[in-house]
Amino acid sequence: MNLNSKIPEGPIAEKWTKHKFNMKLVNPANKRKYDIIVVGSGLAGASASASFAELGYNVKCFCFQDSPRRAHSIAAQGGINAAKNYQNDGDSIYRLFYDTVKGGDYRSREANVHRLAEVSVNIIDQCVAQGVPFAREYGGLLDNRSFGGAQVSRTFYARGQTGQQLLLGAYSALSRQIANGKVKMYARTEMLDLVLVEGKARGIVTRNLVTGKIESHSAHAVVLATGGYGNVFFLSTNAMGSNCTAAWRAHKKGALFGNPCFTQIHPTCIPVSGDHQSKLTLMSESLRNDGRVWVPKVAKPKLTAKEATKIPEEERDYYLERKYPSFGNLVPRDVASRNAKMVCDEGRGVGNTGLAVFLDFADAIKRDGKDVIEAKYGNLFDMYKQITGDNPYEMPMMIYPAVHYTMGGLWVDYNLMTNIPGLYAIGEANFSDHGANRLGASALMQGLADGYFVIPYTIGDYLATMPYTKVDTDHEAFREVESKLKAKLDKLMSIKGKQTVDDFHKALGKIMWEYCGMSRNEEGLKLAKGKIQALKKEFWEDVKVLGSQDELNMSLEKANRVADFIELGELMIDDALHRSESCGGHFREESQTGEGEAKRKDDEFSFVSAWEYKGENQAEELHKEELVFENVKLTQRSYK
């Protein structure tokens, strides 16, 4: 297979400008002759749908929630990066580009990342014009904060609800186009397969989640903006419905999957409280600006937060400050997470489960006063109290890492097109910009960059080569996909086994977290592969789905998603097994420095892993896209 990333020639800072000029255009009067399907209404999908419609294309947009406004993007708290340099602190497009490539541990494409940094500035302008109420300073100009250990203040925010406000902005633009008749919105509708005609993506097959009706939709191009797959781990900070089905089914139709094992584990989440746990709640990273992370020097089993206040200073180990004097509590996410795991593995974890560390604000409150801390983090402190019953003004918080984001996703070229002509992937659904580790406040930036400022250009280059002719949904390609899908749903309903869908999802999550979570090794991964294969077999023999297909049936919806998670889980294991280096969020125990830090093997692994599906129960084939670094010099990251 020829894996062509289509990176334009020329100096990095000119590639995108030149490329925009070189791409073919669709005449304004002809745009209405093209139909585009957008699956997803999060930041990426809503912004792309609205922008396509404004240009004149006919858009059909899909989401599984009851309204496009509820996509998982709504939950993002911290903020969005942009190289505006409003603070005059030395930020620039080049610095944002550099930080992102370095932060991704040199496993992303330079050209994509530079473009991301370039368009970041337009995003903020766009959102403000839409009425997004970003935080402001007394002079009326926009406020910024430093986020996730960045050395400059480039993060724009709207209280602790940045994702919500950005999504509502994109949703308002989308709503305007729905009213104009240029977007037809299908809520509570799930894409269950992709349809190819003569090798090109020409449509999708969906299930109406209320009536159960299976329907075909045809278009000239299909854009997947379906988010990440963190829920493969069962417990994650993702919304309950976030899933990999659209991407996975496209993968099974030939789209390559890039770097599936690259997962981000966020260091500051509320720890698991028991078996009933259904999801994990993130405590914003901004807390690490003032909170100090510690555990007791000597193990104290089941230490509570209240008891912790009585532990004298000399018996505490502020391990991040001790090991990384220059970054301290602000080390990147992967480093903070791994260290929390390490101290808990040593038996020094706290709380009932021993799987937690303290995040302590006592010093900050003493230094700045309770008022100042409340003004900064009041809503987060309230949220913490709401969930745990503990008051963080009086005792330390307990936190533990949790799965948060997936850097991996469908492989795309510079135009954000997968290897299937006419099939695009944007937002968290693609693999493209974050390498092996994503920096804080960069996912919102990427979703909106892709949707507002990249794909509206690049899709034209493709459509300009396409005839206007539409494919009828009566075409045999649609009929065939529909009937296979129906057979699959029939099969799921007919098993009538003994275990619930959640039983399987939890079992999968345990395997993935144990063997393919914060730290991975060859032996464990091999063991996990066997376990997942067995789980898959068991699922298709013993899953229990009640009700019928032609009604609102949430067990059936979940069964479909879990079936795909199991298969993706196996591919993640293969990928983690193959990549025997450590990089970013992927820590292979066999590849570490003397001090226990991640060690990359640039000679062997400077490439994107792009996996090709080969058929049911067949090993997938690995393709490599070599990464070429012309601008950023590769170094081992050091936060000492």
């Binding site: 922008s51 309204s67 406004r69 302008d125 402001r136 729905i178 009213a179 509206p456 009640l546 609102l552």
Partner: protein, 250 residues
């Protein structure tokens, strides 16, 4: 703890629906209300009974999807939180808890506790936006906004569109929801150009969807998980009258 649950069951929008009673035991006070429902649903599936359908997604109080009417109050007994943020420590061992869907003409029940809130989307489509296309907008700092005004706009913008305000209102009025969006955009300089047509169009759509009139009982504000202030309704009324006075359409 052990609890008795009386839950509204309705097969689909055509079905009449009725309450059914369930017992759950060994519920931990650390569970969220929805996790307690997960436990009940697992129990039902194991007994081969149809699980209770309810809407939920983020489970952290921001997507606006969860929507249970618990013991006569949208989102349950505690103020300023959504159903998914409610924890079982707010209840006592032996309690009986009654759970119903949102009830309003403009929110038809789809199944059990799941309702159709697409009327809210259509109200936004009628004018809840600023008409700017992607690109071609001024630099963000060319539109300075006073901090207090930006804050007030943000207070209104926090609405999560859950519909608790409608469910709490005896008239099933959507005024709090609509006024939050109208206020946000009327406060901001970017929203001025369409200020008049926006409020008129959104109110016309709201009326057309079958939401009731506002009689100022304040029930909406009291149950709003985001504490959206009823002063937004007063602002919207002023906006509406001034639009009407100057409008050609009167």
């Amino acid at each position: 703890m052990n609890l008795t649950l009386k839950v509204w069951r309705q097969k689909n929008s055509a079905d009449k629906g009725k309450f059914e009673t369930y017992e759950v035991s060994d519920i931990s006070p650390d569970m969220s209300f929805l996790e307690m429902f997960d436990v009940l649903n697992e129990q039902l599936v194991n007994e081969s009974r149809d699980p209770i359908h309810f809407d939920h997604d983020c489970r952290e109080g921001i997507c606006g999807m969860c929507s249970m009417y618990i013991n006569g109050k949208p989102h349950g007994p505690k103020d300023a939180i959504t159903t998914c943020q409610l924890h079982m420590r707010s209840f006592k061992d032996g309690d009986t808890i009654v759970v119903e869907p949102w009830r309003a003409k403009a929110f038809p029940v789809l199944k059990d506790l799941v309702v159709d809130r697409s009327s809210f989307d259509r109200i936004i489509q009628a004018g809840g936006y600023i008409s700017v296309n992607t690109g071609g907008v001024p630099d963000a700092n060319e539109i300075p906004i006073r901090k207090d005004i930006a804050n007030e706009a943000m207070d209104a913008a926090q609405c999560i569109g859950c519909g608790a305000c409608v469910a709490a209102c005896k008239n099933a009025s959507a005024m709090l929801f609509v006024s939050a969006k109208v206020s946000q955009l009327a406060l901001l300089p970017q929203g001025q150009v369409e200020r008049k047509s926006r409020v008129e169009n959104m109110i016309a759509q709201m009326d057309g969807e079958g939401f009731g009139a506002c009689t100022n009982t304040g029930a909406c504000e009291a149950v709003c998980p985001k504490e959206i202030s009823i002063s937004n309704i007063a602002r919207m009324n002023r906006e509406y009258f001034s639009a009407k006075v100057s409008s050609q359409k009167v």
